[in-house]
Structures are given as structure tokens and as C-alpha cells.
């Protein structure tokens, strides 16, 4: 029993509220943004260390025991995800300082950002499915407001698609909750894990689980439900789209990981079989989409979809190494992908466009920046020894172990398509000469942009060169997922204070 479990969402919630109170002062809001996100990051680090050393941490809100009250719990997967939330949030806050317009700052940009982070952390920490729904609502509204507040035409169009499709997901989620409660009489996931196997339900739980799968797959942006992502990511301010890239889809993928290892394992060949199909198509279709783009942010958005497929494949194969590969990919992907969005913003600043046909000359004019870009870009392509290589290696190994030939083929095809899409960006934006009417700007970059992009690139390099720490964590997290008895026990029988 420890309050520590709640800190990762309490801190941004408080920071958001204080920021709201400090509405008139932009300076105060900016300071709170840095302090609040740093606080969340620190709490996340401490939480991970505690979970690593002492095992699963549990907090029953209001001291009402599970499954009657709401219980929060964190195992290694959720602690890792919370840590990634902390890192992305802190990076986005720093990046926001020199880039977000004063108009957006005045309209509540920072409070919204805090609440988004609170919502994401809440998703990773709760053990109660209805509570999960509430966290989803929080982050949906916060992200919608962040998307739409720029008020440009493209942003409104993107935000509309985003909100409609996500509300569809919410409606499905809510219906599924009602149906599941009707079947089991409880919505605590640990309690469900105990009660569902004892239920003589004649496959009804599997039926309801498909609704959960659909709802979470929309959130995760997997095939064929990914439309909202490429429609909206590229329209937001850079800091926001990087934040989204790091976290929003992960919330859906995490929910799939949690529910389809802990709760819905009654008919694995069927449920996880569908996930395999979805994973394969997500990879290939996402990468094809990326090839059809000239806007670099849209390219990255489609590649993001494609990589959701890799993560889903880890869950879908449902073996220890596959799940561990998926968890590894989660962490690596968040750091790499948010950095690529941050870097797209830097490129825009220097070249005045997001379209690769209108850009050029950065390799000559900005060699250091080019090197920083190469780190996440090559990692995305899976070039060794960067983090993406290990992710790919693990996924291939999981595929070989499971003997899943067609998924392996999908991984190979996707890798080549990804390479093509990314290297075309490199060739056009960095190698090609700058267009005559659009020379690369010479002005120095704000130091915060360097801090964020170099810091995240260093993270990618660190994962790539050390490998072992993250892999050990992923392996243990995967073991916890496959044998959830410790989680169930911790949630259902916490020592009361």
C-alpha cells in the first residue's frame, strides 16, 4: 500500500489545477509546466525502482478493498509505461517553452497538457476497467482540445475525425463494460481474472472481449481502425504531436496488453489470432501509407501506425519472448518516435516547410543536426546497433520461435518499406540541395530544442548500446504478464493500513 502509485497522475493533476489558477501569468504557467512534468518524471523513476526491487505496488483508493473500490496497481509493464510518460511529458514541456505561441499559452495550453499526462498515467495504473474508461475520457478531451485549439482549418478537420472516431471507441468500450458487468458482476481486472474462468458462459466472454478489442484497437490505431491518427497527428503543434506520438496509441496498445493477458485468455487461438491478422496488416498498410506521403510529419504518422503492428505482434504471438519483444519495442519506440516529431519541428523551423520536395540542403548547412536526426531515423529503420535494431531482432526471433512465417514475411516487407520511406526523407531533406527560393535558415536554434532532441537521441543510443537493462526489464515484465498470479494476489489482498 503506497501513495507512490498515485503520484504519477496526482502530480500532473495538481500541476494542471495550479496552472489553471495561475491563468493570468504565462510565466508562472511555464514554470509550472517544467516543474510539474519533472515531478511526474521523478515519481515515475522512483516507482520503477521500487517495483523492480520490491515487486508489484498497490493502492486501494479510499481504502475500499478490491474489487469493491478502485484499486491502483503497478507491475513492471505499467511502471515502464509511466516512466515513458514522464520522459515524453518532460521533453514536450521543454520543447513547448520556445515554440508554443503566446496565444495558445493564454488559452490554457499548459493545463491541458498536464491533464493529458495525468490521464495517460492513470490508464497505466488502474486495475479497474470502468476507471480505465474514465482515464480514457480525460485524455480524449484533453487531447481533443490540444488538437483543435490552433483553430486552423486543417486542425479542425483533423480534430473532428479524431474525436468522432474516438467517441465511437468510447461508446463501444462503455457497451462492452455494461455487457461484461452483466456477465461477471465485477469490473476489477484481477477479480475478473479469478471469476471468469469459473464462469460457465459458453463463449460469451469471448464475444464481449471482441468489443473490448475493437475499442482498444481504435485507440491503438491498428488496421483497419487507424484513420484518426494520420488524419490528425500532423496538424497539431510540434510539441503536441510529439506527445501524442509518444503516448496516445500506447494507451490503446497497453490496454490490449493488459486485458488480453490478464482478463481475456479464454479463447487465445481466436482472440490472439485476430490480433495476429491485425498486426500483420497494420505493419504493411502503415508502411505503404508512409510511402505515399511527401509531408514528413504524415510519413512519420503512417510509420507510427506501421510500428503499432510490431507491438501488436508481440501480444498476438503470446509467447514469453514475443511479449518481452513487444514491451521492449514500446519503450524504444516512444523515445524514438517522439524525437522524430520534435525533429520535424526543427526542420520546419530551418527550412520553412514540412514537405520533403520543398526542403533540402540540411546535411551541408546543419551537419550536427543531421547527425542527431540520423539516430532516431536509422533506429526507426532498424539499423544496428541502434535501439530499433534490437526491437526488430527480438520480434524476428519471436516470429521464428513461434514459426509464424507469414508474420515474419510481413515484418521483412515492412522493414524494407520503412527503409525506403525514411531514406527518401534523408535524401530529399538533407542531401538534396536546398531549393533556390528557400535557403536553410542560419539562425541558431533555441537551446531547449537541442536539449530535447539530443537528450532523446542519447536515449536511443543508450538503449542500443547497453540493451541488457531494458531487455532484462522487458523479460521480467513479460513473465509478470504471462503469469499474473502475483498481480492478482497483490490487487485482491493488499495489506490494509
Amino acid at each position: 500500500m503506497s501513495l507512490l502509485v498515485a503520484l504519477p497522475f496526482l502530480i500532473p493533476m495538481v500541476a494542471g489545477s495550479v496552472s489553471l489558477l495561475a491563468w493570468p501569468s504565462r510565466r508562472a504557467q511555464r514554470a509550472i509546466a517544467v516543474v510539474g512534468t519533472a515531478g511526474q518524471l521523478i515519481a515515475a523513476v522512483v516507482l520503477l525502482v521500487v517495483v523492480w526491487n520490491d515487486g508489484i505496488q498497490v493502492l486501494a483508493a479510499g481504502a475500499w478493498p478490491a474489487p469493491y473500490g478502485i484499486t491502483l496497481a503497478t507491475d513492471l509493464l505499467s511502471a515502464l509505461m509511466v516512466l515513458m510518460t514522464g520522459i515524453t511529458g518532460f521533453a514536450a514541456a521543454l520543447y513547448s517553452l520556445p515554440t508554443i505561441s503566446s496565444r495558445m499559452e493564454r488559452n490554457g495550453y499548459y493545463p491541458l497538457m498536464h491533464m493529458l499526462l495525468a490521464g495517460v498515467a492513470g490508464v497505466f495504473l488502474t486495475t479497474d476497467l470502468f476507471n480505465l474508461y474514465v482515464w480514457f475520457e480525460i485524455l480524449l478531451l484533453a487531447s481533443f482540445a490540444l488538437l483543435a485549439m490552433g483553430q486552423e482549418r486543417a486542425q479542425m478537420a483533423g480534430a473532428l475525425k479524431y474525436v468522432v472516431l474516438n467517441l465511437f471507441s468510447s461508446a463501444m468500450f462503455l457497451s462492452a463494460l455494461g455487457l461484461l458487468y452483466g456477465l461477471a458482476g465485477t469490473l476489477n481486472m484481477a477479480d475478473l481474472a479469478v471469476k471468469l474462468p469459473a464462469l460457465d458462459d459458453g463463449g460469451r466472454v469471448t464475444l464481449v472481449s471482441m468489443l473490448f478489442m475493437l475499442a482498444f484497437s481504435i485507440k491503438a490505431a491498428s488496421f483497419p481502425l487507424f484513420f484518426w491518427l494520420p488524419a490528425s497527428y500532423h496538424t497539431a503543434p510540434v510539441a503536441v504531436s510529439a506527445l501524442f506520438a509518444g503516448l496516445l496509441t500506447k494507451v490503446g496498445v497497453y490496454s490490449l496488453y493488459r486485458t488480453f493477458t490478464l482478463v481475456f485468455t479464454e479463447d487465445v487461438p481466436w482472440t490472439h489470432g485476430w490480433l495476429q491478422v491485425s498486426a500483420g496488416f497494420t505493419m504493411v498498410v502503415g508502411a505503404l501509407g508512409a510511402l505515399a506521403q511527401t509531408d514528413i510529419r504524415r510519413t512519420f504518422a503512417f510509420l507510427h501506425v506501421s510500428q503499432i503492428g510490431y507491438m501488436l505482434m508481440g501480444l498476438a504471438l503470446f509467447t514469453p519472448i514475443a511479449l518481452a519483444a513487444g514491451v521492449f519495442y514500446f519503450a524504444h519506440h516512444i523515445i524514438m518516435k517522439s524525437n522524430l516529431f520534435f525533429l520535424s519541428g526543427v526542420i520546419y523551423r530551418l527550412g520553412g516547410s514540412y514537405r520533403r520536395d520543398e526542403l533540402g540542403g540540411l546535411w551541408t548547412a546543419r551537419p550536427w543536426l543531421s547527425l542527431v536526426f540520423l539516430v532516431p531515423a536509422l533506429s526507426l529503420c532498424g539499423i544496428p546497433p541502434l535501439s530499433g535494431f534490437w526491437g526488430k531482432l527480438l520480434i524476428v526471433r519471436a516470429g521464428v520461435d513461434a514459426g509464424s512465417g507469414w508474420l515474419l514475411a510481413a515484418v521483412l516487407v515492412t522493414s524494407v518499406l520503412t527503409l525506403l520511406a525514411v531514406m527518401r526523407i534523408w535524401a530529399d531533406v538533407f542531401w538534396k540541395a536546398a531549393p533556390q527560393d528557400r535557403p536553410v535558415r542560419r539562425a541558431p536554434l533555441p537551446v531547449m530544442l537541442w536539449v530535447v532532441t539530443v537528450g532523446l537521441a542519447a536515449g536511443t543510443l543508450w538503449i542500443g548500446f547497453t540493451v541488457e537493462p531494458l531487455w532484462a526489464l522487458a523479460e521480467r515484465a513479460s513473465a509478470q504478464l504471462l503469469d499474473p498470479s502475483a498481480y492478482i494476489e497483490a490487487v485482491l489482498s493488499p495489506e490494509l493500513p
Binding site: Y68, A145, G185, F227, K432
Partner: protein, 758 residues
């Protein structure tokens, strides 16, 4: 061995700064890097042991270690990488002197050297693969050196795509073998060869590995990237694309030969290599550009090596590899000198340079003599080993070897002679042409001289080649000799010299016709281009279909997915479907439900927004009446309040909005209707299944029991909201606050760009 790598990587990292020292002359100092590494290698190889293993833990959780192995084969390759590397660095320092991109170039070149060295020394296959990919990447950066040229960018990408796609296959193959063997060490695989071969999936794994090797080593039909890679500066062509990197595939095949050579599939390397050799020789014959000729002859050499490894002829393979690295490295650098000094790239554009470039000519003749297999150069030993091996494997292998070797010999003599004989002519005025300096000539002269030395004193070559052949599993490799007497191989060798002479004579006479005959309309490169084009079209087509930008379609696809998933689960899994039972009697709820339905249909039919809002309100009231009937008064009251408020708000807002318009056609609406009815129907059916299930033991009993004594509230709903599940309520409060903030931000100020500058 890690130390060697560290030295080179340190050199690479500091190269940009070192190159700028002494007014841009610092690049010459970088020659010290491979020299130091070579000394380290020499010290390590001087020991008694047949092989040196060196391993450091890296990722124990994945069985990946920084494990290196120095045996005969890796010693030969490492010596080539570093030895030729010394001359290449010197050559590049001069070749690009004064170019502002030189610092980056030198750094990338040294990085490549480290990667290549790591590749040949690696014992852990994952480590080997990492270096393998790094050579592809550095090769990409070097081919694209002249990056403002679209052609260079394309060639770089082509090379990268082909080699990385092959690399992915290789990775899969290596992992398959690794999982079979339970180890990722080459040195441990060797001990389990028979077990690996007997595995049912070993054919697939071998295919994947071979795909990786043949793309890297430019075998037909993946050869086309290599001639295009000649867009790179000459030092790169000489080093990566002839002497070292392209041999990586052949090297790995050789490494695996002792393990997998007995696999029945291994035999296929023979026709593949033979065809590649003949095909490339022919392609060389119809080329005019010097570097193209050299590139195709390199492909021919790689084909020959594949052929030899396919046949398991260890000694011939390593002998050929060594001889080729020496003469081809020299010839590339000499071609670079000719271009550097005369400005000519095509063979037909230059002639009579024997007085202007005497050293270049001499070295070129030496190298070509070795290549064509003339006594007493080392090439003749290599060629006779090749022919002797071929004689043991059937007539058509001999024919392929003789023909390809003959054509290539003739073409290399063309490269080494034609620019120098006849009347002086060159793009640059002949008076302005001077012999290159020692930095450019040191390499080719040394390599060409070495070719002669090793031919005259074959015992020297034996020192490297015998251990290398042993590493390949050759039990007792014979000592090399220049003269084997008049035997079949000698006759075949004479035959190939005759073909060489014929090619020499034919080339200028057929060049125009051969070069313009439109051969390029077919072949693998066209297939590559066409598949890239098709891929682009497919990508655009698929994306346009899926990501259409139409919200209507997105919702339709989402709904369709829901229907497919739910229906298939309903029909294919679990118990039989429970169908709803309708009774014929008319009751109050049925009347109410029918009324709600009629109103809902009406709402769809109407166009006027105001009426739609009002009717939707009425639908809501109907639903709350249903709640009331089923004795849920508090739920009904809540519903009534919500409906009232939303209707009032909607009416207030809609009053100020323009009228709605119908944008969809009747047929679209029809399709939407079908989809909607299906979607609603399937969800109702699911609901029916759940209702048919036995009621569970719910947690509500517990909540009811504790509401008053522990929650201190009579109204259990209130206690749930503010106590049992207070966290949810807190969340919902946040949701409301966020909605308010979002609304404020949306309504507040006029549209603007999202960011200050970017």
C-alpha cells in the same frame, strides 16, 4: 581484436578534426590509423595457435556477445581490409585534397573500415550482422557522397535497399540457425553441422542466409546495384566495391561452408555463380566507362568465388580472392588516376597517355597481367586453381570459367592498354596532363608489385592462403606453384588467353553496336525500377482507398469491422446463438419502444436541424419513460434532465447556425442504412446473448451492505459516487473542466498559426 576496432573507430571519430589540421593536410596523417591496426593484427597473428578467440559479455540475456575469432580466413580478410585500407586512405587524402567534404568522407571511410574489420572478425553471428549492416550503411553514405546529384542519391538508395533487404533475410536465416543450434557462435555451429542440416527448416534458413550473401556480393539477379555504386568517388569504388565489402557475402558463405556445405541446397551456388560470372563478363564487354568495366569484372569475380565456394574448392577460392583484391584494387585506383589527370571517364575518350602517365601505365599493365593470368603473376596461379577445380565438376563449369575469365582478361587489358597507346587524346589538353604524385600512385604500384612478387615467390602467399584454406575445411592444401606442367588446366588457361585476345580485338569494333542495342530494356534493374514504381502506385492507391479523408467512410469501415468481428465470433465460437423470443401480446414497453423507433426514423428523414434536435429530445424522453416503467425512477429523472438541457442548448445554438444540407446521394444513404441496421442488430444480438446468461454474483451486494454503516449515506448511488468510487468522480470532474477549457480555447480568439515561428 576489440582494441583494433577501438583504434579505427577513434580514428573515424576524430577524423573530421584531424583532416582540418595543417591547412587541410591533416587527412594524410590518418594513414597511421590502419597502419597501427595492421601492426596490432600482425602481433596477434604471430602466435602459435591456429585460431584466437576473444569474447566480452554484452547482452547475456539475448546470448549476444562481443565475440571475435581470428583464424586463417579472418586473418586473410582482415589483412586485405587493413592492408589495402592503408593505401586507400593515402589515396583518398590526396584525391579529395581541398574538397570541403573531405573531413566527413575520411570519417565515413574509417568507419567503414572498422565495420568491415568487425565483420570478418566476428564469431557471434548477431555481432557479425551488426557489422554487416554497418558496412551497408557506410557504403550508402559513401555512394551518396556527391549528394546534390540525383543520380548519386538514387544509386546510394538502390545499393542500400538491395543490401538491407538481403540483410533482413540474412537476419532471419541466422536466427533460425541460432535457434536450432542453441547458440549464436559460428565456432559452435561448426561442431553441429550435421544436426543443423538434418533440421526440417534448414532449407529455408539456408535460403535466407544465401539471399543475404548474394545481395551483398552482387550475384545475379541482384548485381545491378554494384555498377551503379560507381557514382562514389574512386577510393570508395576501389575499396568497398571491389576489394572488401562486396566480398562480405562470399566471405560469409565461405565461413558457413564447413558447417552447411553438405546441405543439398548448397549445390545451387554453382550454377548461380557460374551464370553471374559469364553474364557479368558479357556486361563488361559492352561497357565503355572505365569504372563500369571494372565494376562488371568485379561482379564476374564474385560470381567465380560463389562458384568455387559452391563446389567447395577452398584453396582456389581463397587464392582467387587474394589475387583479385590485389589487381582490382590497383586497377580501380589507376582508373581514378586517369580520370583525375585527364578528365576522361570513358575508355573511348582517352588514348596515347603512355608518355604522360608512365607509372600509371606500368602499374596498370602489371595488374592486368595478373588479372588475365599471365606468367609469372599471382593471377595465373589463381586461374589455374580455378580451372583445375572446374575440371572436376563437369564440362559446362569449365566452359563458364574459361569464357568468363577470357572476356574479363581481355577487358582488363583494354582498360590497362587503350588509354595509353595510339595518338594522345583526352578531354584535357595533353600538355596540361602530368603524372600523379606518390600519394595516388603508392597504392596501385604497391598492389600491382605485390601481385608479381607473390607469383614469383608463391611460398609467401602460402603463408596466408594455407591457413585460410584450412579454416574452410580443406584437409591438406597443397603448396602453390607457378608451373604445374602441361595439363588440362594449362590448356584451358591458354584457351582463355585466346578469348582475351579476341575480346581485345573485338571490343572497339563492336562497342557502338553493343552499347546501343537496347539491352537495358530488360533485366533485373528494370524489374527493380518497375517494382519501385509499382510500389509507389500501390502505396498511393491503397492509401487513397483507406485514408480517403472522408469521415463517413472511416465510420463505415469501423462499423463494418465491428460487424465482422462480432458476427464471426458469434457464429464460430462458443455456444449456439440465442435468438430473441417475441411475444404477440402488446404491452406498454413495446408501444413505447415502437414510438421511440418511429421518432428515430423521423429524425433521419428530416433536414431541418431544429426539428431534428427536438425529435431527438423526444426520443430521449421516450427512453426515460421506459426506465420509469422498469422501476428506475432516479435514472429516469436524470435522463429527463439531460434531455431537457441538451435540447434547450442545441436549439439555442442551432438557431444561429446555417441550415443543414444533404451531401450524400440516395444510394449512399441506402448503403449507410443497411450498415447501420446491421451494426445495431449485431450489438442487440450480443446483448441478447449476455442477457441469456445466468446472473452472476455481483459486487453490488457488498456495496449495499456497507453503504450505510461505513459510507454513512442512505442513498447508495451517492455513496458509490462520492466514496466507493470517488476516483471516478474526480476523473469526471476533470473531464468537465477539460471540456470547458477546450470550449473556451475554441471560441476564444480568431484563427492563427499554431506556433510562434515553426
Amino acid at each position: 581484436m576489440l582494441l583494433m576496432l577501438a583504434v579505427i573507430i577513434a580514428g573515424a571519430v576524430s577524423a573530421p578534426w584531424i583532416s582540418r589540421l595543417a591547412g587541410g593536410r591533416g587527412a594524410f596523417a590518418l594513414v597511421a590509423v590502419p597502419v597501427v591496426a595492421l601492426l596490432l593484427l600482425g602481433r596477434m597473428a604471430s602466435g602459435e595457435a591456429a585460431e584466437v578467440l576473444e569474447a566480452y559479455t554484452w547482452v547475456p540475456g539475448l546470448d549476444v556477445a562481443a565475440a571475435f575469432r581470428l583464424d586463417g580466413l579472418s586473418l586473410l580478410m582482415a589483412s586485405l581490409v587493413l592492408g589495402i585500407g592503408v593505401f586507400i586512405v593515402a589515396y583518398a587524402a590526396k584525391y579529395l585534397e581541398g574538397d570541403e567534404r573531405q573531413p566527413r568522407f575520411m570519417a565515413t571511410l574509417l568507419l567503414f573500415m572498422a565495420a568491415m574489420l568487425g565483420l570478418v572478425l566476428a564469431d557471434d553471428v548477431i555481432l557479425l550482422f551488426i557489422f554487416w549492416e554497418l558496412t551497408s550503411l557506410t557504403s550508402y553514405l559513401l555512394i551518396g557522397f556527391d549528394h546534390t546529384q540525383a543520380k548519386a542519391r538514387q544509386a546510394a538508395l538502390q545499393g542500400l535497399v538491395v543490401t538491407v533487404a538481403g540483410g533482413l533475410c540474412l537476419l532471419v536465416g541466422l536466427i533460425m540457425f541460432g535457434e536450432m543450434a542453441g547458440s549464436y557462435r559460428l565456432s559452435e555451429w561448426v561442431l553441429q553441422g550435421e544436426m543443423l542440416i538434418s533440421q526440417p527448416t534448414s532449407g529455408w534458413a539456408l535460403l535466407m542466409v544465401v539471399l543475404g550473401c548474394v545481395t551483398k556480393s552482387a550475384q545475379f539477379p541482384f548485381h545491378f546495384w554494384l555498377p551503379n555504386a560507381m557514382a562514389a568517388p574512386t577510393p570508395v569504388s576501389a575499396y568497398l566495391h571491389s576489394a572488401t565489402m562486396v566480398k562480405a557475402g562470399v566471405f560469409l558463405l565461405a565461413r558457413l561452408y564447413p558447417t552447411l556445405g553438405a546441405h543439398p541446397g548448397w549445390q545451387w551456388l554453382v550454377p548461380l555463380g557460374a551464370f553471374t560470372a559469364v553474364f557479368a563478363a558479357f556486361m563488361a564487354f559492352r561497357s565503355d566507362e572505365m569504372k563500369k568495366v571494372l565494376a562488371y569484372t568485379t561482379v564476374m569475380a564474385l560470381g567465380t568465388l560463389t562458384l568455387l565456394i559452391g563446389m567447395g574448392e577452398a584453396q582456389a577460392a581463397v587464392g582467387f580472392l587474394l589475387a583479385h583484391a590485389l589487381y582490382k584494387g590497383a586497377l580501380f585506383m589507376l582508373a581514378g588516376v586517369i580520370t583525375h589527370e585527364t578528365g576522361a571517364k570513358a575508355l573511348s575518350g582517352v588514348g596515347g597517355m603512355r608518355r604522360h602517365l608512365p607509372w600509371t601505365w606500368g602499374a596498370a599493365l602489371f595488374a592486368a597481367a595478373s588479372a588475365a593470368g599471365v606468367m609469372p603473376w599471382v593471377g595465373v596461379i589463381a586461374k589455374e586453381l580455378l580451372l583445375e577445380s572446374a575440371l572436376g565438376h563437369g564440362v559446362w563449369v569449365v566452359v563458364a570459367a574459361v569464357v568468363s575469365a577470357g572476356i574479363v582478361g581481355g577487358m582488363l587489358f583494354t582498360v590497362a592498354l587503350r588509354p595509353f597507346i595510339g595518338a594522345p587524346r583526352a578531354p584535357r589538353a595533353p600538355e596540361a596532363i602530368h603524372e600523379a604524385g606518390p600519394w595516388l600512385l603508392a597504392g596501385p604500384v604497391a598492389l600491382a608489385g605485390l601481385g608479381l612478387l607473390l607469383g614469383l615467390v608463391p611460398g609467401l602467399a602460402d603463408q596466408v592462403l594455407v591457413p585460410a584454406a584450412r579454416a574452410l575445411g580443406a584437409v591438406d592444401p597443397a603448396a602453390l606453384a607457378l608451373w604445374h606442367g602441361v595439363n588440362h588446366a594449362f590448356v584451358a588457361s591458354l584457351g582463355s588467353l585466346a578469348i582475351a585476345a579476341l575480346v581485345w580485338w573485338l571490343w572497339p569494333r563492336t562497342l557502338r553496336w553493343m552499347g546501343t542495342a537496347g539491352w537495358d530494356r530488360f533485366g533485373p534493374e528494370r524489374a527493380y525500377d518497375a517494382s519501385l514504381g509499382a510500389l509507389g502506385a500501390v502505396a498511393v492507391g491503397v492509401t487513397a482507398k483507406l485514408q480517403s479523408g472522408l469521415l463517413r467512410r472511416y465510420v463505415a469501415i469501423t462499423l463494418l469491422s465491428t460487424i465482422v468481428l462480432l458476427l464471426s465470433t458469434l457464429l464460430l465460437r462458443g455456444d449456439a446463438v440465442v435468438w430473441p423470443q417475441f411475444s404477440a401480446t402488446i404491452s406498454v414497453p413495446i408501444v413505447l419502444a415502437a414510438g421511440v423507433l418511429v421518432l428515430a426514423v423521423l429524425a433521419i428523414r428530416l433536414v431541418d436541424a431544429l426539428s431534428v434536435a427536438l425529435i431527438l429530445g423526444a426520443v430521449g424522453f421516450g427512453v426515460s419513460l421506459l426506465y420509469l416503467w422498469f422501476s428506475a425512477p432516479d435514472l429516469a429523472i436524470t435522463q429527463v434532465m439531460i434531455e431537457t438541457l441538451t435540447t434547450i442548448l442545441l436549439v439555442l445554438i442551432l438557431f444561429r447556425l446555417p441550415r443543414m444540407r444533404r451531401l450524400s446521394s440516395p444510394s449512399q444513404r441506402m448503403a449507410d442504412m443497411v450498415l447501420a441496421i446491421f451494426g445495431g442488430g449485431i450489438v442487440s444480438l450480443v446483448l441478447w446473448q449476455v442477457m441469456a446468461a445466468p446472473s452472476p454474483v455481483s459486487i453490488s451486494e457488498w456495496l449495499i451492505a456497507r453503504s450505510m454503516p461505513e459510507g454513512h449515506g442512505r442513498n447508495i448511488v451517492n455513496v458509490i459516487l462520492v466514496d466507493f468510487r470517488a476516483l471516478d468522480t474526480l476523473g469526471e470532474i476533470v473531464v468537465l473542466a477539460l471540456a470547458a477549457m477546450g470550449g473556451y480555447a475554441l471560441l476564444k480568439s480568431p484563427p492563427n498559426t499554431g506556433e510562434r515561428e515553426s
